[in-house]
Amino acid sequence: MPLSRKTRLTTHPALLLAPWFLPSDASAHGPALDHHLLLNLWIALALLALAHLLLLTGLLARRHPAQKNLWRIEYLPLALLAILFATLTIKAERLWAATRYTGASLTALQIETTGVQFAWYFRYPGPDATFGITRPQLVAPAEGNPLGLDPTDPHSADDFVSSELVLPANREVDLRLNAQDVIHGFSIPELRLKQNAVPGQTLHIHFTPTTPGTYAILCTQLCGLGHYRMNATLRILSPDQFALWLAAHQKESPQ
């Protein structure tokens, strides 16, 4: 019974992490990030309360000659704040370094994401584990080739393009981000992921999804008229289900 409740909790994507309204998290780096975020939020709330308490106390108390001790009032609190901020920064930089300073491991699942106005496409490289060549001149969404795959390249034959992102649980993913036209923002809030896709650059992010379920992919960089509806779905499946899905799609692939 706890298992089914857990499944229900995680398949209900927008359950709120009270009291801060954070959605549930389904990635390996998520818990550490959430922990640090909550730490920051509570510290901010505490400092806010303290500052306002001082403000109100100072205003309501009886008149008294002015303070003069620069050290006690300015420098000491500043020193304490500096230590606090330095600690938070060091913790944050460690987390940042862990996800961003190094690339994905060599055994990570390779997927390419392309943002166009106004949809996300996800390309799987197929059994040869190599992405085929794309040319912008060959882009023809109406003919089923939204990424401009070059048919003359042998590696293109087994690539297939999907409009939903399907991933196996507990396997690291190396995501290549492309943009065809304008800057888009690739974001999966429930995996605590965000990275802009910039035309002319191929950017990499890597992460490991953990909990099977269905999650939202949003565009978070203003990209034009349809920015608000440039959504996609992420489905995290168990490894067996993913293998089945992959096999099914590769058979269907027209190329």
Partner: protein, 257 residues
């Protein structure tokens, strides 16, 4: 310090006041500062013109020009950083090769001549500026004994204007030479920058020539000697700045493409 005539009230005794002497900060001993502008150790009691004095006006305008030039410098800094970024930005083509398609634009040799002309124009501009402040001439003109300053400054100003126009003509020729070789503004990345950088500088220089013409008119029309001095002085500083800037831009285009 340029010589400006500041009328001195000799018929009033100098009164000692608290603020005449040092304010206790120990920065410098009490001095008889005849000029001021900002609050410290001024003895304005003797000179009701105070901040309206000629020297103060001159420094005020110089400061304004300085800040304007600082701002303009940031403008060019932004364009130059774009230059360096674009120079080193390539793309990855379909075959996973990194391609940087920066094709340096060969600068037409006339640009060397133009640079020499601009340096010369700075020299003539400086000569003009100095004639405005030559003490004996200032005295004469202020007393109404003729107009030696205007008489001496006009040839130098004219020379500067002519040289400036020559520079612009030379730049235009350089553009024509490039056009003959089919290198236009839109041809490639580096040609964008060549035309943009030389074009923006040329616009600034054109504004400088317009300022020179205003100085000409001012020399003949303005009633106050100090205003005439300020006009020429201001244009001179702007002109030198544009010359210095051109040296830098020229070096960039010649050696850093």
């Amino acid at each position: 310090m340029p010589a400006t005539i500041t009328p001195n009230k000799t018929d009033q005794e100098r009164k000692r006041r608290l603020e005449d002497n040092d304010n206790g900060s120990g920065r410098r001993p009490p001095t008889d500062k005849r000029t001021g502008g900002g609050g410290d150790n001024d003895n304005w009691n003797d000179r009701p013109n105070g901040r309206r004095g000629p020297n103060e006006r001159l420094h005020r305008y110089r400061m304004g020009i300085f800040f304007a030039l600082a701002s303009d410098l940031m403008f060019f800094v932004a364009i130059i950083s774009t230059f360096f970024v674009n120079q080193s930005t390539g793309h990855i083509d379909a075959y996973n090769h990194y391609i940087n398609s920066w094709l340096p634009t060969a600068i037409p040799p006339i640009l060397w001549l133009n640079t020499a002309v601009l340096i010369l124009s700075s020299v003539t501009m400086e000569m003009a500026r100095r004639t405005m402040f030559r003490e004996t001439d200032v005295m004469d003109e202020w007393l109404g004994l003729g107009k030696p300053i205007t008489r001496n400054a006009i040839p130098w100003l004219s020379a500067t204007t002519v040289l400036g126009l020559l520079f612009l003509a030379g730049q235009w020729t350089a553009w024509r030479q490039l056009a003959v070789q089919q290198v236009f503004f839109r041809s490639n990345q580096s040609s964008h920058f060549f035309y943009l950088i030389t074009g923006v500088h040329a616009v600034h220089l054109f504004l400088g020539i317009a300022a020179l013409i205003v100085a000409f008119i001012g020399l003949n029309v303005s009633r106050l000697l100090e205003s005439r001095q300020i006009l020429v002085d201001g244009v001179a500083w702007y002109w030198h700045a544009m010359g210095l800037l051109w040296l830098f831009l020229f070096t960039l285009l010649t050696f850093f493409q």
